[in-house]
């Protein structure tokens, strides 16, 4: 009855006031097995609700009793007891440490070898929640010998068990490279890669998360994941209907591509870039973020890879993200990625500038509503693109509304290009750029003044003096 009441959250407060913990504790020691099971189930539901109750469960010394009888009882009791351990362990690392201290790990690992898949699932879930908090707890779980048994659980036919085992391995591997190496040594990667073909969406989401946690730590681990032949199956996951599957698939590709240029090259050669760009186009919001970061990482390695991203039509997609997305961190990521693409050579900068992203970046940098991170990233991106950009029609708007520190770079680029290109010079005058240059006030002797002088030297005196009569006076004085 208590168990049924505990399914409703509003009843829990009432139950707590009625001092239900000590009652349940005595019921756990009852002779009749059904009463024990129901008491354990009620405890589990109570502990699941909030962490005060979970702490109360720990304080009333219920855990040692549970662990002791876990080894002996039938499977219903084992399931209920594992549920209690899971419910207690999920709230905080201290509670999970309390569970480890009373020796629950060994019994849970024994439960993993049980015949009943429900018991295995409950035990794996409890281990997952314990290992989730930090590296020491994960190490304790690994030391209890859970990893090979979890790999066996993955091979079982029940889908729910596979899901839980995959998520447990993912939570173990995410903390440190050594733990990830342990997971790989147990041979998990091959099985996980095979199961990517399974149609169940939640299972795929857990598998992709596990693989990305393994591959994020080092190059060797990433190479091992790649050797398990995940490409091109991962690309089909990018086309899945479920948002989480798409997000985790692009996270996996990002973690693989970020380590070395060779791995990025591999991703590009299998057509991963195109798939990721399509995926970005079909999602919204946070699902796009790993894909955007992946493009940035690939482009950052070398200019050939950046060129590969450009010809896969990545830049228009990134500029759409930049303008459409409401969240600042996604915009910052898009700005960073565009900066990485455009910073290599004038060709790359031209490809970025042609899509009219530079004004958007400038407005983001200047706007007071953008977060600091966004402002910093957009400024860096603008600077790195401007330093290579020789595409003058894109640079002209900058003359009008750029702040001084950016204006310096813009004028510098003009001063590099104009002396050599006569058509550009003519265009510059007709579009009113020369006039604008004269209006810029620069300190004499500064870099900006030098650039302005070099631009003025490209043109004959009469044109310059038309805009700025004082210069004519200086010239006269100079000639005297």
């Amino acid at each position: 009855m208590v168990a049924e009441l505990a399914t409703r959250p509003q009843n829990i407060e009432t139950l707590q006031n009625a001092g239900v913990m000590s009652l349940l504790r005595t019921l756990l020691l009852d002779v009749v097995p059904t009463i024990q099971q129901t008491a354990a189930l009620a405890l589990g539901r109570l502990a699941n609700y909030n962490d005060d109750l979970a702490e109360a469960v720990v304080k009333c010394d219920i855990l040692p009793q549970l662990v002791y009888s876990l080894a002996e009882q039938n499977r219903f009791y084992k399931k209920a007891a594992a549920f209690v351990l899971r419910a207690v362990g999920k709230h905080s690392p201290q509670l999970a440490q309390a569970i480890v201290d009373c020796g629950a790990l060994d019994t849970l690992v024994i439960c993993l070898e049980d015949f009943d898949p429900g018991v295995k699932e409950a035990a794996a879930w409890a281990l997952r929640y314990i290992a989730r908090h930090n590296a020491e707890l994960s190490q304790a779980v690994v030391d209890a010998g859970a990893v090979p048994l979890l790999v066996f659980c993955i091979q079982e036919p029940e889908i729910a068990l596979k899901r839980i085992a995959a998520s447990a391995l993912s939570d173990i591997a995410k903390h440190s490279p050594e733990l990830a190496q342990t997971v790989v040594d147990a041979g998990a990667v091959a099985y996980l890669a095979q199961m990517l073909l399974n149609p169940d969406a939640k299972l795929k989401h857990q598998i992709l998360s596990a693989l990305s946690q393994v591959s994020k730590h080092s190059v060797d681990l990433a190479e091992m994941v790649v050797e398990a032949e995940i490409f091109p199956v991962v690309l089909t996951c990018l086309k899945d209907k479920d948002e989480y599957v798409k997000k985790n698939a692009s996270t996996l590709i990002r973690e693989i591509a970020k380590h070395t240029p060779e791995l990025s090259q591999l991703v590009v050669n299998t057509g991963g870039v195109a798939a990721v760009i399509d995926c970005i186009g079909s999602c919204k919001g946070n699902t796009r973020l790993p894909g955007i970061m992946m493009l940035g990482y690939v482009a950052a390695h070398s200019e050939n890879l950046a060129m590969a991203v450009i010809i896969s039509k990545g830049v228009p997609q990134l500029s759409v993200c930049l303008s459409e997305e409401p969240e600042d961190h996604i915009k910052a990521a898009a700005a960073w990625a565009l900066g990485q693409i455009g910073r290599h050579t004038p060709e790359h900068a031209r490809a970025v500038a042609v899509t009219n992203t530079l004004p958007v970046l400038l407005s983001l940098y200047m706007s007071t509503e953008s977060s600091e991170d966004l402002q910093v990233k957009s400024k860096k991106a603008i600077k790195s693109i401007l330093q290579k950009c020789t595409y003058l029609p894109a640079l002209e708007p900058f003359l009008y509304d750029a702040p001084p520190n950016i204006l310096k770079h813009v004028v510098g680029q003009f001063s590099k290009v104009l002396p050599h290109d006569s058509k550009a010079r003519r265009l510059f005058v007709t579009s009113g750029g020369l006039k604008k240059i004269q209006e810029i006030k620069a300190e004499p002797g500064s870099l900006l003044q030098e650039y302005i002088n070099s631009i003025n030297n490209c043109y004959p005196e009469e044109i310059v003096s038309k805009f700025f009569p004082e210069l004519q006076v200086c010239a006269l004085l100079g000639s005297l």
Partner: protein, 323 residues
Amino acid sequence: PVLCFKGFSLDLGCSFSKYVRQSATVTVLILFSTVFLFFCCLLPKVAPMMNLYNAMAVRIQRRWRGYRVRKYLFNYYYLKEYLRVVSETNDAIRKALEEFAEMKEREEKKANLEREEKERDYQARKMHYLLSTKQIPGIYNSPFRKEPDPWELQLQKAKPLTHRRPKVKPKDSTSLNDWLACTSARSFPRSEILPPINRKQCQGPFRDITEVLEQRYKPLEPTLWVAEPTDELKLAREEFRREEWLRNVNDNMFLPFSSYHKNEKYIPSMHLSSKYCPISHKEQFRSENPKKWICDKDFQTVLPSFELFSKYGKLYSKAGQIV
């Protein structure tokens, strides 16, 4: 021309590998010295020829200038080709992924349609009694409509739904001859050809497979003690009892003593009990109307009752106490 040869040697010295550089430097030094001597002695006579050589040397140098950079550091044509191949791969992947997505959608739609079809079929089977008869048109076959509703046709096609009968489980009787009950092919291979094993081959020599199978699947040869049934006496007794039972009229044992019925609880009939408590006889038969009473006093017992049924059940025997 002397200067340009020197310049050529310096160029060689910077860009080629050490081995080549050394040998090139040596060759060029020799060449330089010969050329120097040659120019000092013979130059005035052979100036036009030298101009020709000069022009040829310039052309050769122009062709080979920056060769290493063009070929190895930044090979423009290779890069162009690579980018073309990458874009082709991208298009192929995009097309394949679109086809995959379409196929998935088609499968899902098909599954949805099948599910709906099954649902409709199930509903039709449940509602099949709503089918119209000759006399009475059903609800889907209204006489005011031109044609019957599509549900009418569905109902005509559907088979009437019957409740599932409880499945009778066949009693599993084990006898001595069924010891090979587990006959799955993988666990007990019967043929001479075994399924392929992908692991390392075990080292031989092996016995002949027919002998092995004969030994493995030798039929059971139980001894006489085991083979013959030993419970014949029990079976015969039960058989006899069954025959006797056939002749019984009443299965209840005859117990003539009244004490047997003492433990039975009286179950009052439903007609005589109300919702709240069993109605006493007094209430059932008597309706009291105080206005009609003649006097205030109740009935009095004038004559004692005689016990008609005092000896009931005890007349014949008291000794038999039935528990």
